[in-house]
């Protein structure tokens, strides 16, 4: 486990305040959107959808596995990835 900076439980540590949490929950405000800003937003949404699909379909997990072990994609590395993920994948609860 990482280094413990504060021992007090939440919300008792010095940096915590309700307004701080409120700010984080609210998110940033902004000026009215321009066409360019909307284009950027649309682009971001497409990237997010793709990232979501890659995560749900375990493609991101495979990429992380390759990065972690410094491997190139191949049949044998995919088989190794599946072996590593077999238990966690099989134990993943699916709701009714």
């Amino acid at each position: 486990m990482s280094e413990v900076v504060h021992s007090d439980p939440t919300p008792g540590h010095p940096e915590w305040s309700e307004s701080c949490a409120q700010r984080a929950l609210r998110g940033a405000g902004g000026s009215p959107p321009t066409v360019r800003a909307l284009w950027v937003q649309a682009n971001r949404v497409c990237h997010l959808i793709f990232a979501f699909l890659r995560e749900v379909f375990d493609e991101s997990a495979y990429t992380r596995f390759l990065d972690r072990h410094k491997l190139e994609p191949s049949r044998s590395t995919y088989a190794a990835f599946r072996r590593e993920h077999e238990h966690s994948n099989a134990c993943r609860v699916r709701c009714c």
Partner: protein, 678 residues
């Protein structure tokens, strides 16, 4: 946006929601547009999310944007991975959305659209979303601990043990109930049976393709699998029209039950990459696409509801399942309003992906809102049908009659006109031999969905395609749950047996795999087999039993949540979790009481056993009723033990006899907040 404009906007949303709720509650006589249900739900969810979930986040949970989550602290690139909140949201939603929110509302529509809709909306905002949110946050603060582990450390050893038993019971009963839905949807349906049978070689082909031809290209493989499944749906039409092939795929309910039991065993014992993983990918792909399509279809086509707001069956004499609105509507609709099963996911994979504590609100509370909206869509799909058609599909033959003419006359005499000719024409339109007595909810949902889409996309000509697409979609969902559920059950049994003899606990030892798979499949297969043999359709007894189990698990989760709230010194806000807990205890205990002891044989298991005994029925049917009664009784006693143990713990903490000790991971400052600020 200026503050006063924001205020005006929220006042507008609240008034719109109130107007929509008033319309669906007070409208009588004429048909109502489905959009009123959607507007009421979306407006209520928006207000609930904006105000109630924020109140919970700030006051009850004291969410801390500066506290590092386990995904950040324990990041190992495998189980613990800090992930974008929208990606986690989608991941969480894909895990919690199953056939439950589709089937429950369809069955509960026998009371009319009003009771179910109000329960889905209110139950989600005040109960289900709260449960998912608080359990997710508490698990995040405990390094992603599971519900059973939290129950053990926060309530006591008994709490942990009961949570374990509740989980395994719910899995077994769930698997029996959902397998019965598939059997009822596919019996005497060569088209549906062919389509679903084809998904198995398709999944195996996907597995081989993924492993040997294009390793790791799951999205590409899933798209190919989807195209093949669509081809199977079109091919099914040809199979149904060919006398020789139709005979091969026209199966009786017992035959289908045996095939599903054999399939469940094979799926549990085969390597994950060959069948389970590709089916899971395919099912997720179809699930997300179909739910989106259904949402767009309802908003674009705005169908009218033919079902009245309240039917005469509010008195408990309904043919779909017996019992009054309280408590049976509240256990029939579980997953769309409050589902204990969600607490397993909120304390499973999801907490290990959360990047910031503040994101638990959107993922936990927001994810359940999305699931609840799916339940509203299912309610709409059931209620767009003519009530006579709805009851003809969902009523068991043992209750309304064996032949089409007798069944139509019985249902018409109850005030819901329908003719045998009308049903025959509908069955012909969707490519089935008959739609009478197709209990379980899936066929009614499929007919409703086909009805919505065929009004604009392709017309009556493609109604059969839409119907079989919906059947395939639900059956695929359910078979994936059978695969995954049997395997999860197997691991739990192996874990328990490992304490008796260590080799049995080894998940890769083949004799142990075969033995424990057989144990789990035997348990749910037993419930399935008895459901198939039950003259009242089986779903009558199995679905309420599953609903009771699911809501009892939610009660355990809320006991854990309330205990943590009290221990953290936030007693003044304890009603947030205590009120849903009290409601669930009241609902589940009274439902279980009635299911065991009600003198009406259609409701009480023991009364039904006595009736069968007097009629000289087979000993197996009588034993089955007694077993159902015993299971209900044991579960209620176990959960009562958890509730009592929790209350004693609260009393000890509140009276000062015990020092409240939370088992949270120590506070570590997040580095992500600084990174986000640049």
């Amino acid at each position: 946006m200026p503050k006063f404009l924001r205020g005006l906007l929220w006042i507008g949303v609240s008034l719109l929601g109130a107007a929509a709720l008033a319309t669906i509650a007070l409208h009588r006589g004429e048909q109502i547009n489905a959009m009123w249900l959607v507007v009421a739900a979306v407006a209520t969810y928006s207000v609930g999310y904006r105000f109630y979930s924020k109140f919970i986040a700030l006051k009850l949970l004291a969410i801390d944007p500066l506290r590092a989550t386990p995904a950040e602290r324990l990041d190992n690139g495998r189980d613990f991975v800090p992930t974008n909140k929208w990606v986690v949201f989608g991941h969480h939603f894909a895990a919690i959305a199953g056939p439950g929110p589709l089937v429950g509302p369809v069955l509960a529509a026998q009371f009319g659209y009003l009771p179910g809709t109000l329960w889905i909306i209110a139950g989600a905002v005040l109960g289900g979303c709260v449960q998912d949110f608080v359990i997710l946050l508490f698990s995040v603060r405990r390094d992603g601990k599971s519900l059973t582990e939290m129950a053990k450390t926060e309530i006591g050893k008994v709490g942990g043990f009961v949570a374990y038993l509740a989980v395994i019971s719910i899995i077994i009963i769930l698997l029996g109930a959902v397998a019965l839905i598939v059997v009822n949807a596919l019996k005497s349906s060569p088209w549906g049976t062919f389509t679903i049978a084809m998904t198995m070689p398709i999944a195996v082909m996907m597995g081989v393709y993924l492993r040997h031809i294009r390793p790791g290209k799951v999205l590409e493989t899933s798209v190919m699998g989807f195209v093949l499944v669509m081809a199977a749906i079109f091919g099914g039409q040809w199979v149904a029209q060919s006398p020789s092939w139709a005979a091969v795929f026209t199966l009786t309910a017992p035959t289908l039950a045996i095939l599903i039991i054999v399939y469940g065993f094979a799926a549990s014992a085969l390597p994950v990459w060959l069948l389970l993983a590709p089916r899971d990918y395919l099912s997720t792909f179809v699930k997300l696409g179909t739910i989106t399509l259904l949402a767009i279809g309802i908003v674009a086509l705005r169908p009218s509801l033919h079902m009245p707001p309240l039917t005469r069956f509010a008195d408990g004499t309904g043919p779909v399942f017996a019992g009054t609105i309280f408590p049976f509507a509240f256990i029939t609709i579980a997953c769309g309003a409050v589902s204990g099963f969600h607490s397993l996911i909120s304390s499973g994979t999801t907490p290990k992906l959360i990047r910031r504590e503040t994101e638990t609100r959107m993922v936990g509370y927001g994810g359940m809102m999305a699931e609840s909206l799916v339940a509203i869509m299912a309610m709409i799909a059931a209620c767009v049908l003519q009530p006579g058609v709805y009851f003809a599909i969902n009523s068991p033959a043992g209750l309304v009659g064996q032949t089409p003419d007798v069944a139509a006359a019985t249902i018409s005499s109850q005030g819901f006109p329908v003719t045998a000719a009308e049903m025959s024409s509908l069955a012909h339109a969707v490519g089935e031999q008959t739609l009478f007595n197709r209990t379980g909810g899936a066929p009614a949902f499929a007919v409703g969905m086909a009805h919505i889409f065929s009004n604009s996309l392709g017309g009556e000509a493609v109604m059969a395609i839409w119907y079989h697409f919906a059947i395939m979609f639900e059956a695929l969902f359910i078979l994936t749950i059978l695969d995954a559920g049997t395997r999860v059950g197997r691991f739990m049994v192996q874990d328990a047996l490992g304490h008796i003899w260590r080799p049995l606990g080894r998940t890769s030892w083949y004799p142990s795999i075969l033995l424990t798979s057989a144990i789990v499949v035997n348990f749910w297969g037993y419930f399935l087999w008895n459901g198939v043999k039950d003259p009242l359709g089986g779903i009558n007894s199995l679905w309420p039993l599953f609903g009771i189990c699911n809501q009892l698990l939610a009660a355990v989760a809320l006991c854990v949540a309330t205990t943590i709230v009290i221990k953290s010194g936030r007693v003044r806000y304890v009603l947030v979790t205590l009120i849903p807990l009290c409601w669930l205890v009241a609902v589940t205990f009274s439902a279980a009481w009635q299911k065991v002891l009600n003198p009406n044989p259609r409701i009480g298991f023991l009364a039904h056993a006595r009736q069968l005994e007097a009629a000289g029925a087979s000993a197996r049917l009588i034993f089955n009723d007694r077993l159902d009664a015993a299971v209900s009784g044991v579960l209620v006693v176990l959960v009562a033990v958890v509730v009592v143990e929790s209350v004693l713990e609260w009393a000890r903490v509140l009276s000062g006899r015990k020092v409240a000790e939370l088992k949270e991971a120590p506070f570590v400052m997040t580095k992500l907040a600084l990174e986000e600020q640049g």
